[in-house]
């Protein structure tokens, strides 16, 4: 039993954190009727992926990735900068997605006066759309 805790949970806890966050976000996206909550779920989901990428890049005792003669001669290891850059891009994408989603929600609120999905569907039915 000990090896399970040591090798699977503790040694890889960063992956567990992102998996749990991912599932929380996924659940909120599917199960919640409130549109804002759906978008919060989406954000949690995306953040979990960002964490996954960032933790992938990190290394214990790694320095900042400015490669100079000194770092190489002393045998330092450095953190991989590429995933950070990728995630910078992915964060922009996530912000844009959230912005579009919120814009749609605002328009829906203006149109139907609610942000509960089921009430919106009901009102659409009443309006005969």
């Amino acid at each position: 039993m000990e090896w399970v805790i040591a090798d699977i949970i503790l040694a890889k806890y960063n992956y567990w954190v992102s998996i749990i966050l991912m599932l929380i976000g996924f659940y909120a996206m599917i199960a919640k009727g409130n549109l804002i909550k759906k978008i919060i779920g989406l954000n949690i989901f995306q953040t979990a992926i960002f964490l996954f990428y960032i933790s992938l890049a990190d290394i214990r005792g790694g320095t900042e990735p400015i490669v100079s003669e000194e770092i190489i001669s002393k045998g330092y290891v450095y953190v991989n900068p590429l995933p950070h850059v990728l995630i910078l891009t992915a964060i922009v994408v996530a912000v844009a997605t959230t912005a579009v989603a919120l814009a749609l929600i605002i328009r829906m609120y203006e149109e139907y006066g609610t942000i509960e999905e089921e009430e919106i569907i009901e009102k659409e039915r009443e309006l005969g759309l």
Partner: protein, 510 residues
């Protein structure tokens, strides 16, 4: 370096620049937006033709952004497949932009026109970017650019379109996130993002569980984007809700660009290792059958066409699936590519073109009818052929092309796929291919039922509706598509040749 070799990046950059210049120009003069958009896409189309010509005659274009060599820098890699898809995108984009010049006043309130063209141009940017890029993360970013533009465009009409756009946004974001996870897994095991570089690094790692998980995530993620059967639920709401030119672009090419991304990633990174041919085949056949069953019972013209897009996505996926299936069953790597495999792939790629032309035109035509008589209900359209002859005749040509009637373009693509399956039954055999053949034939014939239903309403039925033909740009683009279907059907050889070249590229035979 030849000037043509800069075109892949210029196609994307010009489109992006024009998106913002439309925003600025539209501030002063709303009328200029349409012209800037049309001019830009025309310029891009000319560039795309040059790229296609260069790729077919001289060879692949490798463009390194900023001069950074791959695998560190981003590489734009254009071969026959990319160039072919790029030309289709821009051709459809041009005609839809021309159509929206007049149709947009029927579809959207005037204050939205400027932002419509801005977002439309961003949408084109995303579509072009996905096709030209050779870097898998770059592909993700462009897929998100085009999807974000598509969410906004779907929701732009307000009312019921908002919820359709929102559902599409949630589904599409899940798909994109899954794709991103897949990319992360691949990066974790290989340390590379360049597709060509990955294809060299991955083969020793195929047994690795991380790579297998990445494979599944990528299929599911891009499967949502291309709306294949169990992941298609957003499509029938989202596509009809958009303004007509956007429905045309979404149904005609956007889902096909998702398909392009899938085959580019799968066929390059996992050449027939996981037997995904069977997965594509099953999903393709299922989406065909399910789409057909739903499409027949629709009375809303645009909704019927949206279901028919799922059917056609199924046909394309089946073509690619057959190709991959044949290659994976032929156990030993042979010197010569099995003829049936390249034919099936060529059929699938040609179907991207023929379906794009046919479906875009019918959606544009439904926009014309909506502008004329303000309905999408098939039951209220009887007699439209008398008052809107150009639109109705062209739409009938498009519907018959989608149906696959011999002198039209749609016939050749379906013919190639069915022929290749028949060939494969002879050479490879197996119960899977026989079932594929039967289901394909069944679906192709069953689809005639609803295409002919619409054609009957347009051409034969008489009714009380009185209207008149719509503005010239709207008629022009519909007629242009009809002529394309006709000419492409009468002289299919150049198109088939390009499709075969593209299929050889993706199957690794040349």
């Amino acid at each position: 370096m030849l000037i043509v070799e800069h075109f892949p990046v210029l196609v994307v950059a010009i489109s992006l620049l024009s998106a913002f210049s439309i925003l600025i120009a539209g501030w002063r003069n709303k009328k200029s937006c349409a012209f800037i958009s049309i001019a830009t896409i025309l310029l891009q189309l000319i560039m795309a033709f040059f790229i296609l010509n260069h790729v077919l005659t001289i060879g692949t274009i490798n463009y390194w952004l900023g001069g950074w060599a791959p695998p560190w820098g981003i590489e734009y890699l254009v071969d026959a497949l990319n160039a072919y898809v790029l030309v289709i995108i821009l051709f459809l984009g041009l005609l839809c932009a021309i159509h929206s010049k007049s149709s947009i006043e029927h579809e959207l309130p005037p204050y939205k026109v400027v932002s419509f063209y801005t977002v439309y141009q961003l949408f084109i940017t995303g579509l072009c970017g996905v096709t030209v890029t050779g870097d898998i993360f770059n592909m993700y970013v462009f897929i998100e650019i085009l999807s974000l533009a598509a969410y906004a465009l779907v929701g732009s009409k307000g009312g019921i379109a908002l919820r359709a756009g929102f559902t599409y946004l949630v589904m599409g974001s899940i798909g994109a996130c899954f794709f991103l996870i897949g990319i992360g897994f691949l990066y974790a095991v290989t340390g590379s993002l360049n597709i060509h570089d990955l294809s060299l690094l991955l083969p020793p790692l195929y047994g690795n569980k991380v790579v297998q998980a990445a494979f599944i995530f990528i299929i599911v993620g891009l499967g949502i984007k291309m709306a294949i059967f169990p992941l298609h639920t957003w499509l029938p709401d989202a596509h009809p809700a958009a303004p007509s030119p956007i429905s045309a672009m979404l149904s005609g090419i956007m889902i096909m660009v998702g398909f392009y991304a899938l085959i580019r990633v799968l066929f390059t990174l996992f050449p027939f290792y996981y037997n995904y041919g069977l997965i594509l085949l099953i999903l393709g056949l299922l989406s065909m059958t399910v789409g057909n069953l739903f499409a027949y019972f629709q009375n809303d013209l645009k909704r019927l066409l949206a279901y028919s897009s799922i059917v056609n996505m199924g046909i394309v996926a089946t073509g690619a699936g057959v190709a991959a299936y044949i290659l994976s069953t032929v156990a030993e790597p042979q010197e010569a590519l099995p003829e049936a495999a390249s034919l099936a792939m060529a059929g699938a790629l040609l179907h991207i073109f023929s379906h794009g032309a046919g479906k875009a035109m019918v959606f544009l035509g439904s926009g014309n009818i909506h502008a004329g008589i303000h309905t999408r209900d098939l039951a209220k359209m009887g007699g439209i052929g008398r008052d809107m002859p150009y639109t109705s005749y062209s739409m009938s040509v498009g519907l018959l092309s989608l149906l696959g009637l011999p002198p039209l373009l749609g016939f050749w693509s379906k013919f190639l796929i069915i022929m290749s399956v028949a060939k494969a039954i002879q050479s490879v055999g197996g119960v899977v291919l026989v079932i594929t053949f039967i289901l394909l034939l069944f679906n192709v014939i069953y689809a005639a039922a609803y295409y002919l239903k619409v054609t009957k309403v347009l051409m034969i039925e008489s009714g009380a509706v009185r209207t008149h033909e719509v503005a010239f740009p709207m008629v022009f683009s519909v007629v242009a598509f009809a002529l394309l279907c006709l000419i492409g059907g009468l002289f299919p050889l150049p198109f088939i040749r390009v499709a075969v070249r593209a299929s050889l590229v993706i199957l690794g035979g040349g």
